[in-house]
């Protein structure tokens, strides 16, 4: 310490001090910014997450998916399905599955966000698969609505209906309505292909295209129908039912009025 204090008036002391200060602020800033990044990048899982997720998995999922998540007669293997698949299936309440049936039903979510993250970490650790998308790519404000509409009509509308109101498939299966589905879950459904939905990988529909589709869906969800009551946007079924019941009812009422005598 004595040597140091003796040199404190050395001509280079100021330079050394300045360098040290710069290094310190830069280092702290770098540490702080990586900490922020780790918060936003939900795919950066720690070993603790995997550990906790493994316990949650063993307690809640392993009875069907098997202890190593390698699958059984009742449920598929989860090796390589990725964190996005867990986040979608558990985050929308489809898993744990309520009952056996044509497809998993949506129900109240059974786990909190932290637990879902931990289970996703565990399943992601089993094999490479689609990751949970980052917030930037999910922002509908950044997407091109009309391009998204075209992509939606080509790739999605045949099952999910041109107004995203959902539709029937074979033998009790169905494509659900997309109204109220969060941006993240729409994206994850596209990359993972839950239930009988085909996979729309990034090689097929790029992340930017997916953002366009999300922008389109959020736009029609906010705007509503340009004609007022959309009767569920189900097309000729609900519209036909309405006109046959209400329209014919009005015609019958008019006929009765036309043929009745004035008092």
């Amino acid at each position: 310490m004595k040597a140091l204090s003796q040199r404190r008036r050395h001509p280079l002391a100021a330079v050394v001090l300045l360098l040290m200060a710069l290094l310190a602020t830069g280092g702290i800033y770098a540490a702080a910014s990586t900490a922020n990044e780790a918060q936003a990048q939900t795919t950066a899982f720690t070993a603790d997450d995997v550990d906790e997720g493994s316990k949650l998995f063993a307690a809640n999922c392993a009875s069907c998916h098997g202890m190593g998540a390698t699958g059984s007669d009742a449920a598929p293997s989860l090796v390589g399905v990725g964190a996005a698949s867990v986040d979608f299936q558990v985050g929308t309440g489809r898993m744990p599955m309520q009952m056996d049936g044509p497809q998993a039903q949506v129900k109240p979510v059974q786990f909190d966000d932290e637990e879902i993250r931990q289970m996703a970490a565990y399943v992601a650790s089993l094999g490479a698969g689609p990751a949970i998308p980052s917030d930037e790519i999910l922002d509908p404000a950044e997407g091109d609505t009309s391009a998204g509409g075209e992509l939606f009509r080509v790739n999605c509308a045949m099952c999910h209906n041109a107004a995203a109101a959902g539709g029937a498939l074979t033998r009790g299966k169905y494509a659900p309505s997309l109204e109220g589905t969060s941006e993240k879950h729409i994206y994850e459904a596209m990359v993972t292909g839950p239930q009988n939905m085909p996979v729309f990988s990034d090689a097929n529909i790029t992340p930017e295209d997916k953002q366009d589709i999300i922008a389109f869906l959020k736009t029609i969800e906010e705007q509503g129908s340009p004609g007022g009551a959309d009767l569920g946007s189900l097309g000729p079924v609900s519209e036909g039912l309405f006109i046959w019941v209400a329209g014919l009812g009005v015609i019958i009422a008019f006929t009765v009025w036309l043929t009745s005598r004035s008092s």
Partner: protein, 340 residues
């Protein structure tokens, strides 16, 4: 006029097992004429007059509402304006039409003269009428001499048979006949499979298991009759586990490593079959629920379609992109007369 329709049944009714017949009913005649409120009370008449005028005024307001909506609601990019305009156009038209219609009916029912009229049935045609008609026809046949002059009869028959033929010949000008257009599509050996709608080519490696790609032939977006070509050439591309495919002899090399391409045009009436279930490998047509099994060359397992979906033979070119090895081997889409 339900009240004035009590006619005489004019029939006898058998009662019981004795076969005794009741006498005919007496004709009850028409119910007495009952004047309407507006006929008796001048105030009611005045009120009805005002009601009719009010209904016509509603029609006028409806028409004005229509034009206010049409001209004075500037459409910006928001949907609220459009919704408001649609509402005003619809309500305006409805009021304009209903006001006139309801007003006229109300006018007729309350104010116009209220005579009751009966109209008796016609008598059934007597035999003499039939004989008169028969006589007229026979007279025509006799006087024209068509029975005695077979030359005239036969030439007339020939002329009458031939005369409609020019009309049929004119139908040719609705053509030309489609030729081979129903049997050929844009697909050919070496044509790349590209994404709909962007037209970017697809690498075999891009098609992961469980994927479904909606595919158009390369160059479709620049084609002269784009929609006509697209209506025939659209294809759905899927990748399955190669072990799940069951190709028939001669079609083993139509798929590439589990990647198969099938026409998207239903063989029933031509709806796009694109509802692909990636777990069951079923393709469902949304129009009439025809279901095709991709594992077994898209054979029909449910619904009204009569034939499997045509498969597009595919392979991979030097650069790793998926290409067609030929056109479809059979016409796509629903049956037609000359399909054979």
């Amino acid at each position: 006029m339900a009240d004035s329709s009590h006619g005489t049944p004019g029939t006898t009714v058998a009662v019981g097992s004795t076969g005794r017949q009741l006498d005919e009913f007496d004709n009850p005649g028409l119910p007495p004429h009952r004047p309407r409120l507006a006929d008796r009370d001048p105030r009611a008449e005045k009120r009805a007059e005002r009601q009719v005028a009010l209904l016509f005024a509603i029609s006028v307001v409806g028409t004005l509402l229509f034009f206010v909506g049409y001209f004075f609601i500037p459409l910006d990019q928001t949907i609220e304006r459009l919704r408001l305009q649609n509402l005003m156009l619809g309500l305006g038209t409805a009021f304009a039409m209903l006001g006139i219609g309801v007003g006229i009916v109300h006018w007729a029912k309350t104010l116009m003269p209220d005579h009751e009229v009966t109209e008796d049935r016609h008598d059934i045609r007597p035999e003499s009428d039939r004989q008169d008609a028969e006589k007229i026809v026979n007279d025509i046949l006799d006087e024209s001499g068509i029975k005695r002059r077979p030359l005239i009869r036969n030439t007339l028959l020939g002329a009458a048979l031939l005369a409609p033929l020019p009309a049929i010949a004119i139908f040719r000008d609705l053509g030309p006949l489609p030729g081979n257009a129903l049997k050929e599509t844009m697909w050919d050996a070496g044509v790349r499979l590209t994404r709909d709608p962007s037209g970017t080519p697809i690498r075999a490696a891009d098609v992961t298991i469980g994927s479904a790609f909606h595919v158009i032939p390369e160059g479709l977006n620049e084609a002269e009759h784009k929609l006509e070509e697209k209506a025939k050439a659209v294809v759905l591309l899927m990748r399955l586990d190669p072990n799940e495919l069951n190709p028939s002899p001669g079609r083993e090399d139509w798929a590439y490593d589990g990647i198969v391409a099938y026409s998207k045009i239903c063989t029933h009436v031509g709806c796009p079959v694109a509802l692909y279930e990636q777990q069951t490998h079923h393709l469902l047509c949304p129009c009439h629920q025809s279901t095709f099994d991709v594992e077994h060359e898209a054979r029909v397992i449910f619904g009204p379609a009569a034939r499997p979906l045509p498969q597009l033979p595919i392979e991979v070119d030097d650069e790793g992109y998926l290409v067609a090895s030929s056109d479809f081997q059979e016409p796509v889409g629903p049956s037609f007369w000359e399909r054979g």
